[in-house]
Structures are given as C-alpha cells and as structure tokens.
C-alpha cells in the first residue's frame, strides 16, 4: 500500500535523534491514532541549520518526519512555516488516504517547533491554524470526514 519512496524513507530515515542545544522543540500527538512526533530545530538568524526528529508511529509517520526534516533544513523559518503536508506527501510520491494525517503530524510538529523558537526569542507564537491537511481526502482526521 506504500510507495517505494515511502518504504525507502521509512527503512532508512534521516535526521533521527535530538538536538541537545535546540533553539526550538515541537511535540504533537495525532488525534487520529494517538501517535507522537517531536521535532528539534537548530536555527541561525532566521535559517534552520539542523532539524531532527523522534517519532512514535507508523511507517508513514516516520517517513514523513524524515522527509519533512530533510526539506526544511536550510529553509528560513517563514518558508518552513509554509511547508504543507501536501508538499511532504508529494515528496514521498504519495500516501494512502488513511495515512495523510501522518503527514499533517509532521507539518504540525514543525510549526510547534518554530513557535517554540519564537517564544524563546520573545516573539508572539503564530496562529497554527487547524490541523487539517486541506485535502478532503477522506482520511478520517478532518471533522467533516467523521
């Protein structure tokens, strides 16, 4: 049910671990399956120079964390904020509908880490918005999908 890309990313994930002197840490739990994702950021000026993760969850969640942390490395905080779960899904070559919420977890964890970074710098956290994938994919996570 997973694409080769997902399996490859999941079996050999990158950026597993913690950053001891992280500038921002974000932890989120999935309302759908109860899984947990934690993302650590090292930020210089406005740029993410290192991103790492730990995830308790399915193959899609682990693959999404690995892919998402790879994608935001080198990005500015505002660009990383704009990373959507659909970008992660695309980079993975697609996810089964029931697994789209796992990629939303990655986006939410990144936003939580960025907000943590902002708070530490004395800035207002940004409005995270709903934890929707913007998809109507029928994955069961969105209230309108039951």
């Amino acid at each position: 049910m997973y694409t080769e890309k997902v399996i490859a990313e999941f079996t050999n994930p990158e950026n597993v671990g913690e950053i001891a002197d992280a500038d921002g840490v974000g932890e989120v739990g999935s309302p759908t399956c109860g899984d947990i994702m934690k993302i650590y950021l090292k930020v210089e000026e406005d740029r993410i120079i290192d991103a790492r993760f730990r995830t308790f969850g399915c193959a899609a969640a682990i693959a999404s964390s690995s892919m998402a942390t790879r994608m935001i490395r080198g990005m500015t905080l505002s660009d990383a904020w704009e990373l959507s779960n659909a970008d992660v899904v695309d980079a993975l070559g697609g996810l089964p509908e029931a697994k789209v919420h796992c990629s939303v977890l990655a986006r939410d964890a990144i936003r939580a880490a960025i907000n943590d970074c902002r708070t530490r710098r004395g800035l207002e956290p940004r409005e995270t918005g709903s934890s929707r994938c913007g998809g109507g994919t029928g994955c069961g996570s969105c209230p309108e999908n039951g």
């Binding site: 899984d35 969850g57 399915c58």
Partner: protein, 399 residues
C-alpha cells in the same frame, strides 16, 4: 542474497494458512471432471453430490456431530452471521437479549451491533487480563430474556482458549442457546459438540490448510434458527446457493487432516512457539506476552513492545522477509487499536506496539531462528526513533 528474494518466513497462520498439496489434490477433480451441479438429477452429477456428502461426514466426525447437523457456508463470517442473526430472529418471541464477550471477532461483534439496531439488547462481557471470560459472569449476565450466548472457543489475536464446556452448561441451565466461533480453534482444541454443550459452531476452511471462502455452521438438531441466505433448496432448504463443491471437498479433507492428531500437532508447534516466546522475552527488554500463559492456542505468540508502534514493526519485518500482524491502530488507519488487547486492560500505547506471530505446519526451527535474529534489531531501531524510549532502553549510539 537479498532478504526479499528468499522465501518469506510466514508467521501469520491466524490470518490464513497455505493449502496443503493433498487438499488441493482432493479438490482438483471437482473443478474439472466432476463439474456437475449436485442438485441435478442425472447420474453424471452424482459424483458432485457424493463429494459434498463425504465432506459433510468428515466435518461431522471432526466435531462429534451428525452429518445432518452440518451446513456449508461461504466462510467463517457467514457462519457467525447466520448463527447469531438466525438464532436471534427465530427466538424473538422468547426474548430479546444476547450475551457475548468483548473480544469476539468482528463477524460476531458487528452482527450483534446490527441486532441492537433491530431492537435486541446485547451484553458484552469483559475478560480478565489474560483474555478469559468468567463463566460466572455469563451466569450473572443471563436474564429471563436471554435467548443466545455466543463466546468464541479461541481468540484470533491473543489465542486465549475459553472454558467452552462450562459456558455451554451455564447457557443451557438457563434455557439459552450456545454458539461458539471455533474458527481459530479447529485443529488445535479438540471439539465435541455433545460434551461441550454447543448448539451452534462456526468454522472456516482457510484456517486449517483448506481453501478460502468456504466454511460451515454446525446446527444442533432441533435448534430454532432462521435462514440467512434465501433462494434455492440447497443444504436441505437451510442455505441457498449452488454448492462450492471443490471448496467443500477441500474443507472436508482439511478438517480430517487437521483433527487426525491434534495432540501431536500441538506438541510440535508449541515447542517452537515456546522457544520463540522465551527468547523474545529474554532478549528484548520492556516486552510482554499478551494472552494466557497456558490456556492459549499452541501456535500463537502475541507481544507488546513498549515505546514502538506495530505497523512499523510489521513493515521492518517484512523488509527482512518475515510476515506477521499487529493490533495497532495505525495498521488499519483507525483511531482505536485492537479491541481485544484493550479489553485485556492494555494501555493504548501497549496495544499499539503489539505484534502477533502465529506458527503453522510448514514452520521450522530455522524460521524461529530467523525471527529471533531479526526482531531484536527491528525493535532496537524503532526504539531509537521513538521519543517515548527511556534512555536506559536505547541502544548506545556507536559513532
């Protein structure tokens, strides 16, 4: 050689079994030579009829029934649906209450749920930490309105075997019918419908090396039960539809083989399973065995590995050529992990990190060795990834 190129180590026999060659051989002529419809009157169709009749005798002999009490279905789910809906609807004027357990297969649970919508009331009995139903609880749950008690012989996820004979006695003492889903039990638990006080029993061919899509319902003579499948007069007017003759013949041969030496089979399988369980518990910390320590199917091992999630375990095992299953919510994309594991009192996290390995007749000690070689590594890698793993349970990093 790549792990994937090798024949996989199949340890998911509770999901389905491979078909034994002698069973396929028994079926083969009924696909070609004896293709006749068993209901046809000409002599040519007689072999088809004989095939079905022979299988009915084989099933009856395996469970201590009379052949006239055996009805073929399109599998275990149909047998469960028929038993529960049929008994409920036929006895409605006597009462509207059903007693079942929280750990039944969905073929029973969802059927009960449907009956609730039709106005029946259902008691879902809890189980203890090992997955056992207390017959005393059955007795307490029964009311004057109870028409049916349905408790499975053995559970498909954790392998726990119930005190079927005792539960059957309790049901009969109170004038209720007793159904048991024996889909996982056939070939592992000796079944005698008389001694065990069973009125209705479901079984399914593909769980004991027979074909998929064919099963049977045992109906004790005189049991009030409505038909489920309406149509032609097959199965003595109780279950319509042209018989799946090759499937039925295969089911008959399969149950005969599966029940020929239950004790010897159990001894051999349990020896491998016990070594697997001992070694896994000994080599992987923060691991528990789910289910009952002794009252369990001889082929079933069900573990919970703390801090990790089942679907990930499954896919890493798959990448290394091992087929297994899990009760994790992630594996189904749903929000709840296995209802069976939760009913035994496991936390969501523990149920999430479950792995079921079920052995079968083709497994060898080498297969067990393969699992023992791969599994600690898989769990170690996932624990390295998980944020829940305490430092003491992490593999020290080698830089």
């Amino acid at each position: 050689m790549n792990d994937l190129d090798r024949h996989p180590v199949y340890m998911d026999h509770a999901a389905t079994t491979f078909m034994k060659p002698e069973i396929m051989a028994a079926m083969a002529p009924y696909f070609s030579r004896y293709f006749g419809n068993p209901s046809s009157l000409y002599r040519f169709a007689r072999e088809s009829r004989n095939g079905v009749d022979g299988a009915r005798r084989q099933v009856a002999a395996a469970i201590g029934a009379n052949p006239e009490e055996v009805f073929f279905t399109a599998g275990g789910s149909e047998a469960d649906n028929w038993a529960v809906k049929g008994a409920a609807l036929a006895n409605r004027e006597r009462g509207d209450h059903i007693v079942t357990s929280a750990i039944e297969h969905h073929a029973v649970l969802h059927t009960c749920g449907w009956l609730e919508k039709q106005g029946f009331s259902v008691t879902y009995l809890p189980v203890d930490e090992f997955g056992r139903v207390d017959p005393g609880d059955v007795e307490e749950a029964i009311t004057d309105a109870t028409i049916l008690v349905s408790v499975m012989t053995a559970n498909n996820e954790i392998g726990t075997i119930q005190s079927v004979a005792e539960i059957g006695r309790v049901a009969h003492d109170h004038g209720a019918l007793f159904h048991t889903d024996a889909v996982q039990a056939v070939g592992a638990v000796p079944i005698d419908v008389e001694r065990m006080g069973i009125d209705l029993l479901s079984l399914s061919g593909h769980k004991f090396y027979g074909p998929k899509g064919v099963g049977a319902l045992y109906i004790r003579r005189g049991t009030r039960i409505e038909n489920l499948i309406h149509g032609g007069g097959q199965e003595r007017g109780r279950r319509a539809g042209t018989e799946n003759v090759p499937g039925i013949v295969g089911l008959g041969r399969a149950i005969e083989l599966a029940t020929a030496d239950i004790e010897g089979h159990n001894r051999r399988i349990a020896a491998m399973r016990d070594r697997l369980v001992r070694s896994v518990l000994g080599s992987i910390p923060d691991t528990r065995l789910n289910g009952h320590p002794t009252e369990r199917l001889p082929n079933n091992a069900n573990f919970s590995f703390r801090y990790v999630e089942g679907e990930s375990i499954l896919l890493l095992l798959d990448a290394r050529g091992i087929c297994a299953s899990t009760g994790s919510a992630c594996s189904s994309g749903s929000s709840e992990p296995s209802h069976v594991l939760l009913a035994t009192g496991l936390s969501h996290e523990e149920a999430h990190g479950s792995l079921r390995l079920t052995l079968g007749d083709a497994n060898t000690e080498e297969d067990v060795d393969s699992v023992l070689e791969v599994l600690p590594d898989v769990i170690g890698r996932l624990r390295e990834i998980s944020p829940l793993t305490p430092v003491r349970a992490r593999i020290p990093e080698v830089d």
